[in-house]
């Protein structure tokens, strides 16, 4: 008999996300539904505002990349007003966003995702001497010396964790499915993971300082304004630039000596799942299996980001190319046509009868509720509306966005820098390119991107210092607000750490008349569309084998690989609604 697994809310993520999955008698997921049970609706609050202030409000959309929403909103207004920002402003914005990518990706891998691969309890039985040797091995794969290679250091960390356990201070370590057979690392490898988890806590603190140097107020940086940036004093202060560079170099060391080696280690130990073509969505929907567990749609889209010259926001050369790759075919990249973006609300709790482009987009709530069952669990009405997330569509297809999309599109577009980093990773790890199309591949792509970002930021900080030395102190482009805001519309389409992020604004007589945002997790976590086609999360779960339905480790691992920005307890129930196990219950999801 098939069983129905409800994961609600998924923990170690931002926001509210619920997953319902149906597994067959072999414990393989045959159907899946993704739903956000929290209404955002922030777009409605932006109508009638001065467009220059929208960023201050738009940054509250997100609990993580507040600065990215802030910047995208400002870029949408700059596009509407046809403003090109000065070189210093462009570089500073790249540095603020780049620092966010580094911080976000490191925190995601270690503090939100690593425990899906690393069994903390197993680490307690590791041999510290063997652990040191293991650390050297994986660092050498990355061409580096290890971040920690001393037996005594690993022993000290092991003792520290054992002390936590003895005192009952398990903290986040108290929530895992320890001992699940789908944990594949050896005790020594688990100890490496735990050690780097703890060290990453200190590293991420310093990465956050990088964001604050040019971001002014932190959290919620406010140094970006329509026309440029306001941190004039900071860019002219060599000590501030030197501090940024010093923090960047320390962070880069951790990325190369710990993060990358750990991803090589996980990539190798979990290669079986990552290359299991029979566990792919494409195989099960009748196509040719490409990649492995967690691969999902294999359609990727990127708006492109990080301007490399000053020819204008949509004309500039880009660090991450924009484009589309369909069906995992990296032999070609399709050009991105913005007009082909639309949002469908067939299965979302909003009114609407057809997919609409964001400029015409509407946010009119129409909540139709959950199914009510006698067992106390409220199920999604999956045949009807079942999520607060709309279903974005590109060219009448469902697509995935995020670091994997950016790396795949970069390779397909034959971008020299991205191809070098991706090829180097695969070659050093002795991994096939198809390994990317999997849960592990999505996680690896984020690590590859982090290394690339850290390296290129070193170039940018030097470029900024050099430009200021030439006497260029310009940080803001003047504009006549009354003149440009009579009737205008613009879009801020670029990337956030989690993927393609777009803000669309229509302005009349100096006020916002319509505002829509499509955030990365909308693309990835969306429900089915008007043709009943799955969203990226849903597709990624199809074919996944669950070792123990009472411990949906594999579901959480794959969903975490997207770095969801939308939080859960776990109910496992059979298809008749009988509850088999409940681990944590979020009252908002109960009836």
């Amino acid at each position: 008999m098939s069983k129905h697994i409800v994961v609600d809310p998924i923990t170690r993520i931002e926001g509210h996300l619920r997953i319902e999955a149906v597994i067959d008698e072999n414990n393989t997921i045959v159907d899946a539904y993704s739903a956000s049970t929290m209404f955002r609706g922030i777009e409605t609050i932006l109508q009638g505002r001065d467009p220059r202030d929208c960023g201050l409000l738009a940054m509250r959309i997100c609990g993580v990349c507040t600065g990215t929403h802030y910047q995208r909103s400002i870029e949408a207004v700059e596009d509407a007003f046809n403003i090109t920002i000065p070189k210093n402003a462009r570089i500073v914005r790249n540095l603020i966003q780049g620092a966010l990518y580094m911080h976000d990706h490191v925190v995601h891998f270690y503090h939100l995702h690593a425990l899906d691969f690393v069994d903390v309890v197993s680490a307690l039985s590791a041999d510290p001497a063997k652990t040191a040797a293991e650390a050297r091995k994986w660092a050498s794969v990355a061409g580096e010396s290890p971040f920690i290679d001393g037996e005594s250091e690993f022993k000290a960390i092991q003792d520290r964790v054992a002390k936590f356990v003895k005192q009952g201070r398990l903290g986040i370590f108290g929530n895992g499915y320890w001992g699940n057979p789908h944990y594949k690392l050896t005790p020594e490898q688990n100890l490496i993971g735990v050690a780097h988890y703890l060290q990453a806590l200190d590293i991420q603190r310093d990465m956050a300082k990088m964001q604050a140097i040019f971001g002014g107020k932190n959290p919620h940086p406010q140094s970006i304004v329509v026309g440029g940036v306001t941190c004039v004093q900071d860019i002219q202060n060599p000590a501030r630039i030197a501090l940024f560079k010093s923090l960047l170099l320390e962070g880069t060391k951790f990325i190369k000596q710990a993060y990358l080696p750990d991803v090589y280690m996980a990539g190798t130990m979990y290669a079986g799942e990552a290359t299991d073509s029979k566990a792919t969505f494409s195989e099960l929907v009748g196509g040719k299996g490409v990649g492995g567990t967690g691969g999902g749609l294999l359609n990727f889209m990127s708006y492109g980001d990080f301007r490399l010259d000053d020819t204008g926001f949509y004309k500039s050369a880009l660090l991450f190319p924009k484009g589309v790759v369909m069906g995992g075919d990296i032999s070609k990249v399709l050009p991105l046509d913005e007009e082909k973006i639309a949002e469908d609300v067939t299965h979302a709790w909003y009114k609407g009868d057809k997919p609409l482009h964001p400029y015409e987009g509407q946010t009119i709530p129409e909540y139709t509720g959950l199914d009510k069952r006698a067992d106390g669990i409220a199920y999604l009405k999956t045949k009807e509306k079942y999520s607060w997330i709309k279903s974005p569509i590109y060219n009448d297809a469902r697509v995935e966005v995020g670091p994997l999309a950016r790396m795949v599109i970069g390779v397909a577009a034959k971008d020299e820098r991205i191809t070098k980093y991706v090829t180097n990773f695969l070659k050093r790890g002795n991994l096939p390119v198809t390994v990317l199309f999997s849960t592990v591949g999505r996680t690896a792509a984020r690590a590859i991107e982090t290394e690339l970002m850290a390296d290129v930021m070193l170039e940018w900080i030097d470029e900024l210092a050099k430009n200021v030395l030439t006497g260029d102190k310009s940080t803001w482009t003047e504009f006549d607000f009354d003149e440009v805001s009579v009737s205008a519309k613009g879009r801020g389409m670029a990337e956030a750490p989690r993927g393609a992020l777009g803000h669309w604004v229509s302005i009349a007589d100096g006020k916002v008349v319509n505002y829509q945002a499509i955030v990365p997790s909308t693309w990835n976590a969306a429900p089915r569309d008007y043709k009943n086609r799955m969203g990226a999360y849903e597709a990624s779960l199809i074919g996944t084998k669950v070792a123990n339905p009472e411990q949906p480790l594999e579901i959480i691992r794959t969903i975490h690989s997207f770095d969801p920005c939308i939080a859960c307890a776990v109910h496992v129930v059979d298809t008749k609604g009988k509850e088999l196990a409940v681990y944590k219950v979020d009252s908002s999801c109960s009836i």
Partner: protein
């Protein structure tokens, strides 16, 4: 960072009562002086993004909501970091879930501030509106008093200024931030 103690206002200003922690932070910033110094931080919707603050300060007080249906609107709860980590906190809004998990993660760090969370039970965290419900307004002054009392326990002398910015003036700033007019969170 100017002080050893930080007060973080936390929540979402757009969902009615969910922003009450933010308003408390702003109110305490505008209307009181502190000796020794106190850093008052707009934590906004951040969850895991607040981790660096717990690693920087000796003491952190977080003001937010506690969406506990079993308690009356306006009930104020003071919980230590240890109690929160032991899952005694209410985790309903996205922010409440993340704050608790953030504390769990930070408890593993070399340094984690001694943390206290002062939460108030909201009435409405669903309506998209920058405001505080009348029911919660009745408990506003007591909420502020409890935070001041907690700051006093930390050895801080809290003195009220003569001109007071009212809750409604605070709400107006959150509802209508303006770069041009220097109004904001």
């Amino acid at each position: 960072m100017n002080a050893n103690v930080a007060l973080i206002g936390s929540g979402n200003a757009f969902f009615m009562d969910e922003g009450v922690g933010l308003y408390a932070g702003k109110y305490l910033k505008e209307n009181f002086t502190y000796e020794p110094a106190l850093d008052i931080i707009d934590g906004g919707t951040l969850g895991f993004g607040l981790m660096p603050l717990l690693q920087e300060y000796e003491v952190v007080i977080i003001a937010n909501t506690s969406s506990d249906d079993s308690q009356a609107v306006g009930t104020v709860t003071v919980l230590s970091g240890e109690e929160l980590i032991a899952n005694q906190g209410i985790k309903k809004t996205a922010n409440e879930v993340e704050i608790t998990e953030m504390l769990q993660i930070c408890s593993m760090a070399n340094h984690c501030a001694s943390t206290t969370m002062i939460s108030i039970v909201p009435e409405d965290i669903i309506s998209v509106c920058v405001d505080v419900t009348p029911a919660l307004r009745e408990h506003w002054e007591r909420y502020i008093d409890v935070i001041v009392e907690e700051l006093t326990k930390c050895g801080i002398t809290v003195t009220q200024k003569s001109d007071v910015m009212s809750l409604d003036e605070i709400l107006e700033q959150f509802a209508n931030p303006s770069i041009e007019h220097g109004k904001g969170f």
